[in-house]
Point group: C2
């Protein structure tokens, strides 16, 4: 596609207005000068309303994730990098190699173009670092007061290597439950950055793309049974989803769950249970018990798994409960998240 | 996935609240009892954060579209059916057979669950009628006043049959330009339904899935050069996109552009140029001039093309202008849409 317009949009001082979503000249300028400029790849430059790519025979996955995080910029990331990481991770949790992303923007009239550009630059950087290009997209604008700055819905497709069979339905009694590091960082980082909390901390979001870690894991242990990223609802809700899907129970050991002391302290202060706090660079892996040591070793050898740990195991349980052996030697049920701990965390 | 909860959400009298996006029990109930219930297909029932499907070697396309139409219900459709048709059409405009859809919902706190159910039922019906299932999704909730009821971002993947090469970059001088029927219906239907316009009409949106029509067209004329659906910005903006991409001009003949008399009258009343009004069940096709009669015949034989017409032809033009021979024998330039005619039309 050739550059369509000589005039430049004012990215320094301009604001999103309704014409940027109208399908005419202003929208084409925004696409050319902001999105194509930064996402910069051959498929996007095809300039069609869809991106075309070749595939070999095999299995693909598709996953989608809306992002409405508030605030849009937070310690350790922003909605742009989060939108890339979140969808890459959902794709990767099937064991797949993520291939392509699409991005749908819903912008609020009046939002500063300079801030939108920061978000797009961050998104493009995350996409390039991950090696997963944004190949097609869409932009809509809603009137001031009908949105909240920027919402981004990303969709990803990926290819599942032959021989893998990873699903939340595959956990079996005797399996080990692992996590790749400290829990709760993302949720606490977001909370700390909200204006109405005077809470100060050095905690940053763990937002990260996990497909590289997953690739080393499935390479070492191809018979991993389940992978899932404990985002909204945290480790507790993710494990409850899996126990329901698989018809098993999980027994956690509290002392083995990695957590930063400052996150633990922040959770106590805020009255949050860290098991329900969102993560954006963490995964839960469930594998045959006999493979746990191997899996743990490859996880710990990866930069995104250096604090990995075995945190529990799968048991028979017709009620599909998640329980936890507490630090005091007791046992409690770890139920689904009821209600809303942390609104708009992702 | 087994049914997870005995209790039922109150779809008759309940409202969206923040817990429906929190990742816990309320969200799982909404997914089970509303989305999985109506979209009902094996891939969605996998219950994972991604849907897995097999593909043969070949070419795929991916396309995404956010939907923020206001009002959410309008003559001839609603945001649910529109979100299905819009993305199916973007996929089909490559000549592809649409395979799967994903759906990302951004809901506003307080929105009636009964209305959300109507939208989901309509969306599921459109998806089933088209034979393109919604296989994965996501739900987020924003606080009252930070959204506008329901936004839906749909992404589609499709398979391009071998031998096709359809792109906005492929128009050539001598090609014919066709449209499959009356223009402007969708935009005028939306305008007529907005509260602040006392304008009454029987005009309904043309919202429709065009992949069946496209299949018959590429079957009859595999060397179609371009296909594009003239949504936001209308026929005028779509043709300007194509002339820019292809480095050619287009010459339209006003008298040959199909339009309903009541749409023409409504546009005059509202001060709208119908060439810039959005369509949601229309396509522009560009094919070698010698194939125009064949293509027109198969289009007219299809229910969604009965009013199809040849509306112009492609010419050499280094400025990539779209011009129109008017009914009075004059000629005018049909430029890009400047500004915003019809906000939130899709």
């Amino acid at each position: 596609m050739t550059k369509r317009f000589g005039t430049r949009i004012n990215l320094r001082q301009g604001h999103v207005d309704m014409t940027h979503g109208a399908g005419g000249r202003a929208m084409a300028q925004l696409i050319d000068q902001l999105f194509v400029q930064h996402f910069d790849n051959d498929l996007l430059r095809q300039g069609n309303d869809q991106a075309l790519f070749a595939v070999d025979r095999g299995r693909l996955v598709i996953s989608t994730d809306g992002h409405v995080v508030s605030p849009l910029f937070f310690p350790g990331g922003d909605i742009g990098s989060l939108a890339v990481h979140g969808t890459i991770n959902d794709v990767a949790m099937s064991g797949a190699v993520p291939l392509y992303l699409s991005a749908g923007f819903i912008l609020e009239e009046g939002y500063p173009l300079a801030d939108l550009e920061r978000i797009v630059i961050s998104m493009a950087a995350a996409s390039k670092a991950a090696g997963v290009p944004v190949v097609t997209g869409d932009t809509k604008v809603v009137e001031k007061g009908k949105g909240d700055g920027v919402f981004i819905t990303t969709t990803g497709v990926g290819r599942v290597p032959d021989g893998l069979d990873i699903s939340g339905a595959n956990a079996k009694p005797g399996d080990a439950v692992l996590v790749n590091g400290h829990i709760g960082d993302h949720g606490v980082a977001i909370m700390s950055s909200r204006e109405n909390l005077a809470f100060e901390t050095e905690i940053v979001s763990d937002s990260a793309a996990l497909h590289g870690l997953v690739a080393t894991m499935v390479d070492a242990v191809p018979d991993i049974h389940c992978l899932r990223d404990p985002t909204r609802g945290g480790v507790a809700s993710t494990l409850n989803e899996i126990t329901q899907q698989s018809g098993v129970g999980v027994r956690l050991i509290e002392d083995q769950i990695p957590m930063r002391p400052d996150v633990e302290a922040a959770c106590e202060l805020l009255g949050l249970d860290p098991l329900y706090v969102a993560n954006e660079g963490k995964l839960i892996a469930i594998c045959p018990g006999g493979k746990a040591d191997t899996l743990l070793a490859v996880m710990q050898a990866h930069p995104l798994g250096s604090h990995a740990a075995v945190i529990g195991h799968v048991v028979e349980d017709e009620h599909a409960f998640v329980t936890m052996e507490t630090g005091f030697g007791g046992e409690r049920i770890v139920d689904w998240l009821a209600g809303e701990q942390l609104p708009r965390i992702c």
